[in-house]
């Protein structure tokens, strides 16, 4: 199933060049990323895999403009985000990136619709309009009857669907997922990945998934394997699948 033929039909969405990152000082200094060079294309589902501590979360944090690399360049959709100031990075993330987290990170005390609407509210969209849009998106992820409920009343899979809706509501060009299935059982995890696969069909969108769950590798277009802060291998997966997206 896996091949090494690169997909070149879509433009490069994410590009890193010579990324290095360390944590700590002196004897405690830990070099977690070594000279990372990587290109991820739009319309693709990219997996960054490897054992715990190999640097994959650090890498997506830098890709998403949350962490700053010590050296190297990161370009997202033509914007060199390593050159942006902190406030500019925040604005860039707000307008271009959606996040899906391992622990969902939903706010327990607001409704599911409000959780989904958060990125729009951060953009300054009126509350009512944001909620309406959130309700539509919740319907698309199969939670139309849960819009006024609270995350605590949902199963893990349903919470992750709310998180996916939140990540997509501002129509981001990059969706970053950190271990999106590790808190879910196998069946629910597969459902979530199928949903994300649909998300990744959008030719203008790039999805990056960090995982060490090898049960879900089959959903990837490109597998980036890391080890000890270095890219060990990059493998392309060729699938045939529809190209239109419902999101």
């Amino acid at each position: 199933m896996m091949t090494t033929i690169p997909t070149t039909a879509h433009p490069i969405a994410v590009s890193t060049n010579g990324l290095n990152k360390s944590f700590g000082d002196g004897e405690n200094r830990l070099h977690v990323l070594h000279d990372i060079n990587l290109n991820l294309r739009s319309g693709s589902m990219n997996y960054i895999v490897g054992p715990s501590g190999c640097g994959k979360t650090t890498l997506i944090s830098i890709m998403a403009g949350i962490l700053t690399a010590e050296s190297g360049e990161t370009t997202l959709f033509g914007t060199p985000i390593h050159k942006l100031k902190s406030s500019q990075k925040a604005k860039f993330r707000r307008d271009n990136i959606g996040f899906i987290f391992q622990q969902f990170n939903l706010v327990a005390t607001i409704t599911n619709a409000e959780n989904v609407a958060v990125p729009l509210l951060i953009q300054g969209k009126p509350h009512g309009k944001a909620i309406e849009q959130a309700k539509l998106l919740l319907e698309q992820v199969g939670l139309g009857d849960k819009v006024n409920g609270f995350p605590r009343d949902l199963s893990g899979g349903q919470q992750q669907r709310v998180a996916i809706a939140r990540a997509l509501i501002n129509n981001p060009r990059l969706v970053v997922c950190d271990e999106p299935t590790s808190a879910l059982d196998g069946k629910t995890g597969a459902q979530i990945l199928e949903l994300l696969t649909v998300v990744a069909r959008d030719p203008n969108r790039c999805v990056v998934v960090v995982t060490h769950d090898n049960r879900i590798y089959k959903y990837a277009d490109q597998l980036v394997e890391m080890e000890d802060g270095r890219i060990k291998s990059i493998q392309q997966v060729d699938h045939s699948r529809p190209t239109d997206s419902q999101f």
Partner: protein, 374 residues
């Protein structure tokens, strides 16, 4: 996002209650200490309120109701001659030693009022008649602190400066800060009781004509007589300042208030800070999504302000209710003026702001990368 901030605040009822209860207790302590201070200060001026006179004229060296320099009776005539004075009457305040027929002895304050008008004699007679004060040797006793004389009754006799006086009435007066019993009599009898005093007048009580404002008349009296004239509240504040400066009340209560302020600040800051810490992951998520720092700071400020307003409302409301339930003239000196509510509101705003700033510093320092940690 401010709506979201409020829902985050109200959503967890237990945490919200903890925050509000912390603030409420701080406000209650602050308002309670302040109310006691105001109550005590108000009692220092109770005799002034009871006369009902709008203008008080005293010797320029007098510093308060309780620290007067006596004047000659002729000064009353000088004041009466000032244009715009409707009436001007003398009021005497002297100390004496009284001994009851039962043998109880102690210091008393003698207040002498104008013989004709009885202006200066408080209302609230519970036994006897006002006009009986004109009988020879008659005094009216203010109830309250007269128990040291075995709760005297109408008809009882006392010895005052080697002269016998008879109780002809009992008055229910406001509690006074001064511990000495008060006996009211007329100016004529004051002069009989204190024949050695060539200056029997302590105050001149004045009422303005309707054609002139009290303020204007005060200026005129001061300019034309060389005496000092004060409005009712100015004289009240002068007397409060005298007691405040000479009793150490402000320092002693001030230390309490300072302690309450520190405790209130610590409680508020700690509870708000703990609330922010518990929401670190949520705030980190907002930061990862791209919220601006000023919006994040605004959310914390809104949460802090709402807790402060609710805590202040409940705290000051409870204390004000306690004040209303406190019976008049009880031993508890307790008065909660609207200004005190305003002052405690400003203080609460202050320590909520401090707590918010500490929390904002923490929130702004949240590394959004924490959202990727499981």
């Amino acid at each position: 996002m401010y709506q979201i901030a409020l829902k985050m605040l109200f959503g967890d009822k237990a945490k919200f209650l903890t925050l509000v209860v912390g603030l409420t207790f701080s406000v209650m302590l602050l308002t309670q200490q302040g109310s006691i201070f105001c109550g005590l200060m108000l009692r220092t001026a109770s005799n002034i309120f009871e006369t009902g006179a709008p203008i008080w004229v005293v010797d320029p060296k007098a510093t308060s109701f309780n620290d007067v320099v006596d004047m000659k009776l002729s000064e009353v005539l000088r004041v009466r001659s000032v244009e715009g004075v409707k009436w001007a009457v003398p009021l005497a305040l002297h100390a004496a030693t009284a001994q009851s027929d039962k043998g109880d002895t102690g210091a008393v304050q003698i207040i002498g009022v104008d013989d004709q008008t009885l202006i200066g004699l408080p209302t609230g007679m519970t036994k006897g008649r006002y006009e009986d004060i004109n009988q020879p040797g008659a005094v009216i006793i203010a109830k309250g602190r007269s128990e040291r004389y075995g709760s005297p009754q109408v008809g009882d006799f006392f010895e005052l400066n080697d002269q016998r006086v008879k109780v002809v009435g009992m008055l229910e007066t406001q509690k006074s800060f001064s511990p000495f019993p008060i006996m009211y009599t007329t100016m004529n009898k004051v002069q009989q009781l204190f024949p050695e005093k060539k200056r029997p007048v302590s105050f001149i009580l004045v009422k303005n004509e309707s054609t002139i404002s009290p303020e204007k008349l005060i200026e005129r009296i001061t300019a034309q007589t060389g005496l000092h004239a004060y409005g009712l509240w100015d004289f009240v504040f002068l007397t409060m300042q005298f007691w405040a400066a000479n009793t150490g009340i402000p320092i002693n209560l001030g230390i309490n208030v300072l302690m309450v302020l520190i405790i209130g600040t610590v409680i508020s800051a700690q509870t708000l800070y703990a609330f922010m810490l518990e929401n670190t992951r949520q705030f980190g998520t907002f930061k990862a999504i791209g919220i601006e720092n000023k919006t994040l700071a605004g959310m914390v400020l809104v949460q802090s302000a709402v807790v402060g307003i609710i805590g202040h409302g409940i705290g000051s409301g409870l204390i004000s209710t306690l004040g209303l339930l406190n019976p008049p003239n009880s031993q508890l000196a307790f008065y909660t003026p609207p200004q005190l509510i305003g002052i405690t509101f400003v203080l609460v705003c202050g320590f909520c702001l401090l707590a918010a700033v500490l929390s904002i510093i923490k929130v702004l320092r949240i590394d959004p990368a924490i959202v990727f940690r499981g």
